[in-house]
Symmetry: D3
Subunit: 118 residues, 6 copies
């Protein structure tokens, strides 16, 4: 199974598992998360880049993967995504670089999957 | 091998490896760690929840697994463990969610292992 | 003006300022925050200690002050509050100690204000 | 002295002090920092918002102030700045709120200084 | 009162306050802290630099001040201290710079106090 | 494939991938990283220990592995490397221990590979 599908399947399965519990706070946080990245005073493209950069400085690989997937769907080009990630790397320091390597690998994977029609 | 046993075996093996070195500071930190979660002015149940919530906001998957195992031994119910983790997720933000997914999966694994008598 | 009142006044004034803007996401996060610490599967006393410990490992002085104020209102004794903070200091490391000093000072201030009837 | 001027004066003075030492690495990091936020594959407006959001999730008050100053110069409106900060607060959690309060206060200060012609 | 004395007085006073409580865990953590920076397999000079650099990447201003004071006592020159801090700034990113400014100011203060015989 | 070779191969491959993009900021950050750990006011041995300790308190497993490899090349003994890591664990807290376990395992792997001539 390719890494993009593996990531999304696990994410969807465990999110569903968390939502089937009766914990209302988790439900509400998930709900806020869905709404926060839609068009508002800033458009959803800019907000997705904010999500990507914040995820990278906080060094959360899974969050980075999620936002890379969204950035691809929104039509961002590699040069734009890389530039957002380079700013995050400068702000967060060289400690971010291992996460940047994984992000680059995942971005390439997304693009390869599309070109191969997977 | 199930994930719970795999986690505990690796943890025990490497802790033993660290303690066989002659580094006294590591020994003492390990020693403090053992004592810190026993009954005192607060009971050990509350302290274990503190350990779980702190581990989750600091996004340390292995620390979360360890405290989930202890919470299970102490008789906490799913609703209680989830509520502690939901508070931690609110405090630590959506960046905590990928770690919450892994925590949920590990908690389910612990409960499944018990029901299957493993 | 004493430090406890100064902290609470600033906090109340700026929270009101944030809520008077038309940003719905901030409003909703504030709303979740209010509800998260009420009685549920865990009682509000335990949840307040979780908030205190998480705030300390994340080294947020203002969050620590807020939860110390709440812990006082809920009737926690110094030995209990200190024990929760000592567990957080062990988990978070000596980097937490400067924040523990400020927390101790603020806790003493709260207790002094009460005994002086302020 | 108003807080905006106080912040900028201290920042400028200490940056100059650091650059007058013979440490080349610090000089180069400062140099990268200056270039990173200029127009490229992403325009400088978006990059400034990335800087603001990353600074807020990393809870660096001085970095937030700096980027708020730049956002003002670039013509961002309050609703836009607040929306970027609200996304950062969701990602970084309620632990970010004390820093959001200070950010709001500083943003108001910038706007007041301008309207008063200071 | 100069900033160096102000910092040390507050630190000493609150450490004493914490140690007069009956919390054994805090006492033991303080005790480990004292011993950890003495000569061992690495000499105390190197360990002090480790303490300084770790404090800076973790962005703890008070911890940085403490280790700068110790580095001065151990005879480190400005060029050496700055180099350790520049490596930490690269690793921790530009988010560290506001803390580097305060560290530089405090280092200058220490050196000025000595030359003035205070 | 052994873990040391696996780590280095992935790191080299993805660093090359990042450098083949036209992002100048990433190139410059990589360039600074290479130069920062060479002899200067502090020798490269001390700087490598700073890199190791900072990586451990920031809990970046891959950064720790990289610096452990360099420490081995520079001739550091196990007792020295462990002492630097024990100081980092005290500063960063018990949350660092899972990363210390992985670091110990990787250090043993490096030493085993050498003794086996791999």
């Amino acid at each position: 199974m390719n890494k993009e599908k593996e990531f999304n399947d696990y994410r969807n399965r465990m999110n569903a598992r968390l939502l089937e519990t009766d914990n209302k706070l988790i439900k509400r946080i998930f709900n806020l998360d869905t709404n926060a990245f839609s068009d508002g005073n800033l458009n959803k493209e800019i907000k997705e880049l904010l999500g990507l950069a914040c995820s990278l400085v906080l060094r959360c690989d899974d969050c980075v993967k999620y936002h890379l997937g969204k950035c691809y769907e929104l039509g961002f080009k590699s040069g734009e995504v890389l530039e957002a990630m380079s700013v995050a790397t400068l702000i967060g320091g060289t400690i971010v670089i291992p996460h940047l390597r994984k992000a680059m690998e995942y971005w390439d994977e997304i693009n390869k999957n599309v070109s191969e029609g997977s």
